[in-house]
Symmetry: C2
Subunit: 292 residues, 2 copies
């Protein structure tokens, strides 16, 4: 069994980005600049944005946080987006979700210029993803693709089963892995809450991607010997032995499943770090104006 | 076995559209107006465009064909698209593909205003389709969805196998049927040229959608008893008994497969007529400005 070590790979990619950014600066160019728009005081959102800022700084990417009260109107937030779209010193930006209920999230997302949409949530980026055209990919599926690519996991002709059809993970990764590309060319089965007999289907999977949001939903009897297992879930479990009072675990019962796998991601340290590094990669691509 | 009679259903829907268009005109409003842009003299393209024009006229939709020589430059064709985007008397338009090799098809498609993109090929419409947002759907997958809907074929929790991953049929129908919607909520497996042991997979299908472009590729041993089979293929077979000298057949060996099915589309008279009627439905939606 080989661990798909997202933490290690993310560090390696961060070093590559840092080197490229340093070369830009040596060359007299401006560093890439990422802006995170944060509305309100949601603790999880604060944590995510702080992590994005720290990771940006680690590699020399300039990071700014634009903070707004949760009373900001939709109109005012749209004006913020318009301003960022036009600001030549901002390469890419994200509007941290969720937004307060009086704001239409989809309207905000669609207002972001596709060429600055480093979250890859704009419909035009998702449509281009489907068509195999250059675009910004959503960070989590992109991180999974990078893991498969860098570990040289064979995907051609493999049966990939995806559990979960969310717009930000399950559906896009199912599309990416079925495309004529590398990684790709998988036969993909997309499962969700309406699927009958999920264990029967997962036992056929050469590659199993689990994004159900249900702790330890995948057990060893559901996994074929030699399978590649990618766990997107993150759950906090109370644990008095930890200073934080909790530990993290995934949608997969790692201790029981790992022994059957050819490759498996741990939680933490698997998909999570790859998600953050994908955002940095997208920011660098935005700086280089790779996607018109 | 119930025949999914696309010809009959298309006639019925055309009568519904005609009634609505007549009511518009009685109400003093302008009829919907569809424009087809035809470049060059490709015989198949001429036939398709003529058929779209005839079907439009049948229901009272105004139809125009803008014809250009195959020597038109990309820049000139982009200007035609810009003109149509701005013309308030044109509700929707299509640029008939394929285009001459010196013209970048994707560039032309992306220049079409999404709200006039009745072919549903613009990335923003495909992205919105993925997100389950209101949009123009590509005509063939839309026609299949309408067939399943009007014949009240149960789809929730069914295993749907799609053969073929093209951008205009296989991939979009796989996305549509996996969405949380009705029809939808299928567990979907998307197969293609890299898939191993296709017959093993198709034998698991409650709903089998065949868009491989290979004559009689699906035989009776590949189909489960009681399956729903949708055949997207169209092939011409020489037949001296026909006035035209040929007859049409599909990707499915209908004579052998039909007896095992709960529902099946014939070729001709199945998906084909539904594709054309979907374009008329999209034109009507464009006239009513249903998609901003």
């Amino acid at each position: 069994m080989i661990l798909l070590d997202g933490k290690e790979l993310a560090s390696k990619i961060k070093a590559e980005i840092a080197k490229e950014v340093a070369a830009m600066i040596d060359n007299g160019e401006r560093a890439p600049h990422l802006v995170a728009v944060l509305v309100g005081e949601d603790p999880a959102s604060q944590t995510y944005v702080a992590s994005k800022e720290k990771n940006s700084h680690d590699v020399g990417i300039t990071s700014s946080i634009y903070r707004y009260s949760e009373t900001i109107s939709e109109h005012e937030l749209l004006e913020v987006v318009d301003f960022l779209n036009l600001d030549p010193d901002v390469d890419g930006f994200i509007v941290q979700l969720p937004l307060p209920k009086h704001i239409d999230e989809q309207k905000i997302i669609e207002r972001i210029s596709p060429e600055k949409d480093i979250d890859g949530f704009h419909p035009v980026n998702l449509g281009k993803m489907m068509l195999g055209l250059p675009c910004f990919l959503p960070a989590t599926p992109m991180g999974i693709m990078t893991l498969l690519d860098r570990y040289r996991v064979e995907t051609d002709g493999k049966h990939c089963v995806v559990l979960g059809r969310s717009h930000i993970v399950g559906t896009p990764i199912s599309i990416l892995l079925s495309r004529k590309a590398s990684p790709g060319n998988c036969t993909v089965t997309l499962c969700h809450s309406f699927t009958h007999d999920i264990p029967k289907i997962t036992r056929e999977a050469d590659i199993l991607i689990v994004a159900m949001g249900k702790q330890h939903a995948v057990t060893d009897d559901m996994v074929k010997n030699g399978a590649v297992v990618i766990d997107v879930g993150v759950h906090r479990i109370p644990d008095e032995s930890k200073k934080s009072g909790f530990r993290l675990t995934g949608d997969v019962d790692f201790d029981k499943v790992a022994g059957k796998c050819s490759y498996i991601t741990p939680v933490p340290g698997g998909v999570g770090p790859m998600t953050i590094v994908s955002l940095l990669q997208n920011t660098l691509k935005a700086r280089k104006k790779m996607y018109p």
